[in-house]
């Protein structure tokens, strides 16, 4: 089966890298799915979940907050200022952050917390 090489990199560390069959990420123009052999593309990521289907049938979900996606020669780079894998996310903390963001009427923080919760719960649904 065709596969593509994925690197998910945050500003201060490499979060995940490996082979995948499809990667779905939210870009400025909507959710984009990238499969092996996609045309070279470079676009802006929105705050949202990134879903990576690995070659062995597993799923990696990460919450990313702002960044870029670039694909060329079957190599996909996801650059994010902040990126967290679903199993690293502290659900209780994200829920608290969501509550706080709602009460502070901070839209960005609210969105970030929602994405985090979505990613963490999405992983449980797959498991």
């Amino acid at each position: 089966m065709a596969e593509l090489h994925v690197e998910l990199v945050a500003a201060d560390r490499k979060v995940w890298s490996g082979a995948a069959t499809i990667v779905v990420a939210r870009t400025a123009s909507g959710d984009t799915g990238i499969m092996p052999g996609h045309t070279p593309v470079l676009s802006v990521l929105e705050t949202g979940p990134v879903t990576i289907r690995t070659v062995d049938g597993g799923t990696v979900i990460a919450a990313v907050h702002g960044g870029f996606i670039s694909f060329a020669d079957n190599k996909l780079s996801l650059l994010a200022e902040i990126a967290e894998l679903a199993d690293e996310i502290d659900v209780a903390r994200a829920e608290r952050a969501l509550e706080k963001a709602k009460s502070d009427l901070d839209e960005h923080a609210e969105r970030r917390a929602e994405v985090r919760l979505f990613a963490a719960r999405g992983l449980k649904a797959h498991a």
């Binding site: 690197e7 500003a11 560390r13 400025a28 593309v41 470079l42 676009s43 870029f68 670039s70």
Partner: protein, 304 residues
């Protein structure tokens, strides 16, 4: 105990206490250098990917961006100086401050007004003590900077650069480059306007030497560049902060090591002095006793 001996003993005690402190600081710094170097290494994949992306956009499109356009008659230049929050790091902060003064002087001789931005308490106190003006300063994260810190600094600087009126025309950065455990150099670099043909990857190869595929840009080349360039500036500042933090720890370790060595030597020579003072005291006591006994013997012989 004689007065002289007591003074030596007291000084030895105080130097021993100081030595313990400097030894502890040396070991703490040594362990933090490793951590700081790891942070630098961990940030390079992001910096490299970002550099590639910026170069790819710049080579494939002729998009003009405010952050890359040069002002032919630049009037105001900003200098961002990175120093330490705490002292006892040898010449670390002083070297960076000196480099910034030299640079400011040069910019002034080119007829530009210099605006200074400072990171780190040491730089701030140097400038305020001499009555020099600081446009803005950030403190409290010099030994362990996070990406968020770099973002705050970059946001203010980009705002100053893109401001319609009263903004700055160029931005220079003074940071300390970590060469090795023993060598750290204060270096200056022009951050803005960006010169895209000089963009380098972490291993010093120019990013332009690579051949880039024909990318589809979403939403558009300009849109991508708009989002990419500020990130690029942030990542440059972040990298400079991390390098400077590693340099700060290395400089502190070296300074504390020589302080510990000096304290050891001082203790040694003070112990020698104390020993000879004690010996002199004993000798004096013996000669007093002998002298007294002789006098007694003489006196009793005379009466017989």
């Amino acid at each position: 105990m004689g007065a002289q001996l007591r003074v030596y003993k007291r000084r030895i005690r105080s130097v021993t206490a100081t030595k313990k402190i400097t030894k502890a600081m040396e070991m703490i710094s040594a362990s933090r250098i490793v951590k700081a170097q790891r942070a630098v290494a961990a940030s390079t994949p992001y910096a490299d990917e970002l550099t590639r992306a910026v170069t790819a956009v710049a080579t494939r499109s002729n998009a003009k961006h405010p952050l890359t356009t040069e002002n032919p008659n630049a009037k105001r230049a900003a200098v961002l100086l990175i120093t330490a929050d705490r002292g006892l790091a040898g010449g670390y902060s002083t070297n960076a401050i000196k480099a910034s003064l030299v640079l400011s002087e040069r910019l002034r001789s080119e007829g530009k007004d210099v605006v200074t931005y400072i990171i780190g308490r040491k730089g701030v106190s140097y400038y305020t003590f001499r009555g020099l003006t600081i446009a803005e300063s950030w403190t409290g994260f010099s030994d362990k900077p996070t990406y968020g810190d770099a973002k705050t600094v970059a946001a203010d600087l980009i705002e100053a650069f893109t401001a319609e009126t009263g903004g700055v025309d160029e931005l220079h950065l003074i940071s300390t480059e970590f060469v090795s455990m023993l060598t750290q150099n204060a270096v200056e670099a022009r951050l803005l306007p960006l010169k895209l043909d000089e963009v380098q990857l972490s291993d010093q190869t120019p990013a332009k030497s690579e051949i880039f595929p024909l990318y589809d840009f979403e939403p558009s080349a300009e849109g991508v560049l708009d989002a990419l360039l500020p990130r690029y500036v942030e990542s440059r500042i972040y990298n400079a902060l991390l390098q400077s933090a590693a340099s700060e720890h290395a400089a502190r370790r070296r300074a504390m090591k020589s302080a510990t060595d000096n304290a050891g030597e001082l203790i040694k020579s003070l112990t020698r002095l104390a020993n000879s003072a004690r010996q002199a005291e004993i000798t004096q006591e013996i000669s007093e006793i002998v002298g007294g006994a002789n006098a007694l013997a003489d006196a009793s012989r005379g009466s017989e």
